[in-house]
């Protein structure tokens, strides 16, 4: 089975779960006075769950014939591409998300930009470091000082 039909299967599962919540689970908590209204919080989701299920089934059963197009990246040969770099970068983003609050903006961002370039194969250490530091400080100055959006610059243990 091709990837697009596997995805349709997963989406169908999501649709059914969503539909179950909309049709059977949600209305239990509805206040009595709201039950007299012509529209309930679940009305619109009910319609959506039906539409979504129909569309998923169309793809899953292959009713609609589509032309096979040359994809930009063939997922069947994913390992031939630089998969490792992509996965590492995604992990780096997750690490950044987790570290941003406790470690502080400046250290996390400098490390993120530095390690990002490192993962992609850059080895000019001085250039990498200075670019990371300069960008971080500019963005921090802009966001914190000019726009006034608070971002904790330093690790939490050093105070706010």
């Amino acid at each position: 089975m091709a990837l697009d039909r596997w995805i349709a299967l997963i989406l169908l599962g999501l649709c059914l779960a969503y539909g179950y919540t909309a049709w059977f689970a949600m209305d239990a908590g509805l206040a009595p006075f709201m039950k007299r209204a012509p529209i309930w919080p679940s009305t619109f989701p009910k319609v959506l769950s039906i539409l979504g299920t129909i569309a998923c089934l169309i793809i899953l059963m292959g009713i609609e014939k589509s032309d096979v197009k040359e994809a930009e990246i063939d997922y069947r040969r994913l390992h031939e591409y630089k998969l490792g770099q992509a996965v590492l970068l995604l992990l780096l983003m997750v690490a950044y998300a987790i570290c941003l609050r406790p470690v502080g903006f400046i250290i996390s961002t400098i490390s993120f930009l530095f390690l990002g370039a490192f993962i992609l194969g850059e080895r000019k250490w001085l250039l990498m470091f200075s670019v990371a530091v300069v960008t971080t400080l500019i963005v921090w100055y802009l966001v914190q000082q000019v726009l006034g959006i608070y971002m904790r610059p330093l690790p939490g243990i050093l105070g706010d």
Partner: protein, 503 residues
């Protein structure tokens, strides 16, 4: 009217006010480039400065400059990095980004600047002529018509449904709508589909989703498949628009300025729907060969949403200035600024303080003109962003997507959601599912449901569909927009079959 124009010109052309326009345009353009900061937040940031100036005309002129600058800046990031920071510029990335990838970044930005200028200027002329009359039209639209208008907006998905892609585009739209129902609905005040997670209480963030759907998969693709040496990537050529291209986009600009303006006049519809609709309509009007180009770097596909969103921004001033009703978030903030400056917009504004009304209109002309003059020489430098070496560019793109999502919500969980959705979006992209309909569904979903619910409550059922002729008319238009492409495709296939049989 001529007298009013002269009053406006006199006010707007003073040295101080010209400096204001230039400063506003520059600030707007540069901050607008950062994803996550749309016109609304930039204007909100500028308000203290504007109010402290004390002069209502000067303040408004500054804010108008910031407004137009921010819209142009937003288009820049969607064209160059496929990272739309504002809902109104999502449609610009459909064709703008493919153009940038073909090495035509300079040309794409030039087209964006020129069409924005044309849209804004024609919009301002329409505003000047029609503002008083249109104020009553804006009030004719009820929630039933808004609901129908959103459905017409959703028909833009038809533009992504190539042959055999209708079901996929439909799934994506439905999922966009489903994602819009997560969190508290405005009419019900009940958390829905949050699974008890507090962070989902307010729903998914638009920026998070836009970055996860567009910018992140694109960056992952760039990592997976480095461009071979000698490709056009990063090279900037073809800065100028050829006469043939100018000829091709001129009618698009003309049509979309008018259409965008009238959509912008309706409170609540605004630049986003104008840009999606502009894209869908132009695609339907284009010839068969041009239609195949849409989504792959069509100049018409870029000019249409760019013109429409600027014209709509201008249009949104109609209800603000004539009725005192802000039609969008941005105009709501402007209304706040006006009231702080002791100006109360409404039917009396044109009579009591004509100099402010006309100064605003003139500042729109001047703002657009200054923006064009400032930006055309800057375009080669802005486009140079793409020639940053890949090893530095990709971490930067990733960092800016993260920053955009973080600034919008100030919530680190949002970043994890971003990465998660980004991975899902990449998988969907592998399987050739169009991602734009998902985002369109998400953006329009909230408004669609609210207006639908409101009209259901007003009419105690679905009777509004046939009792209001305008609603019915709009729904019929939506059906035509969706069915026309597949009808055309079917007819073309039949014709092709006929030729094959004849052999």
């Amino acid at each position: 009217m001529l007298e009013g124009l002269l009053i406006g010109l006199q006010t707007a052309l003073s040295f101080q006010n010209l400096a204001m326009v230039i400063a506003g345009c520059l600030i707007g353009t540069f901050i607008g480039m950062l994803p996550g900061l749309g016109p609304m937040s930039i204007i909100a940031i500028m308000i203290p400065i504007a109010i402290s100036m004390g002069d209502a005309s000067a303040a408004l002129i500054l804010l108008a400059g910031v407004y137009y600058g921010a819209i142009f800046g937003g288009s820049t990031s969607s064209i160059l990095l496929n990272a739309p920071g504002v809902a109104g510029t999502v449609a610009s990335s459909f064709d703008g980004y493919p153009m940038a990838r073909q090495g035509k970044a300079g040309k794409a930005l030039t087209i964006a600047a020129v069409s924005s200028f044309a849209g804004g200027t024609i919009g301002a002329i329409l505003l000047m002529v029609f503002a008083p009359m249109l104020s009553s039209v804006a009030l004719l639209f009820h929630s039933a018509e808004y609901f129908a208008l959103m459905v017409v907006g959703l028909s833009a998905i038809a533009a992504f449904a190539g042959t055999g892609q209708v079901a996929k585009a439909m799934i994506m739209t439905v999922f966009g709508l489903i994602m819009a129902t997560v969190g508290e609905g405005a009419l019900f005040n009940l958390p829905r589909f949050t699974g008890g997670v507090m962070d989902l209480q307010s729903g998914f963030g638009f920026i998070t989703l836009a970055m996860a759907m567009f910018a992140l998969p694109e960056a992952i693709f760039l990592v997976l498949k480095p461009k071979t040496k000698g490709s056009a990537e990063g090279e900037i050529r073809e800065l100028r628009i050829t006469p043939a291209e100018a000829h091709a986009i001129a009618p698009v600009i003309g049509r979309q300025s008018i259409q965008g303006f009238f959509i912008g006049v309706l409170p609540g519809a605004g630049a986003t729907i104008a840009s999606f609709l502009g894209y869908a309509v132009e695609r339907n009007l284009a010839t068969k060969e041009e239609q195949a180009e849409f989504g792959k770097g069509s100049i018409k596909g870029l000019a249409a949403p760019e013109t429409a969103n600027n014209a709509a921004c201008t249009g949104s001033f109609v209800p603000l200035l004539t009725l005192g009703i802000p039609g969008s978030g941005t105009t709501a903030i402007l209304l706040g600024a006006l009231i702080a400056l002791n100006v109360s917009p409404g039917p009396r504004l044109m009579i009591d303080e004509p100099q402010i009304f006309w100064a605003v209109i003139m500042s729109m002309f001047i703002g657009n003109l200054v923006l064009l003059i400032l930006n055309l020489p800057l375009i080669p430098y802005i486009a140079k962003v793409l020639s940053i070496p890949r090893n530095f560019l990709i971490p930067f793109i990733l960092f800016f997507t993260l920053m955009g999502a973080y600034i919008g919500q100030n919530n680190a969980t949002e970043l994890l959601i971003l990465v998660g959705f980004g991975v899902c979006a990449t998988a969907l992209k592998f399987a050739d599912y169009p991602l734009a309909p998902l985002l369109i569904g998400f953006i329009l979903g909230g408004m669609l449901e609210n207006n639908f619910s409101r009209s259901m409550q007003l009419y105690d059922g679905v009777a509004f569909i046939w009792e209001r002729p305008m609603t019915l008319g709009l729904l019929v238009i939506a059906a035509i927009l969706i069915l026309l492409p597949s009808y055309r495709a079917r007819r073309a296939r039949h014709r092709a079959d006929g030729v094959a049989d004849g052999d």
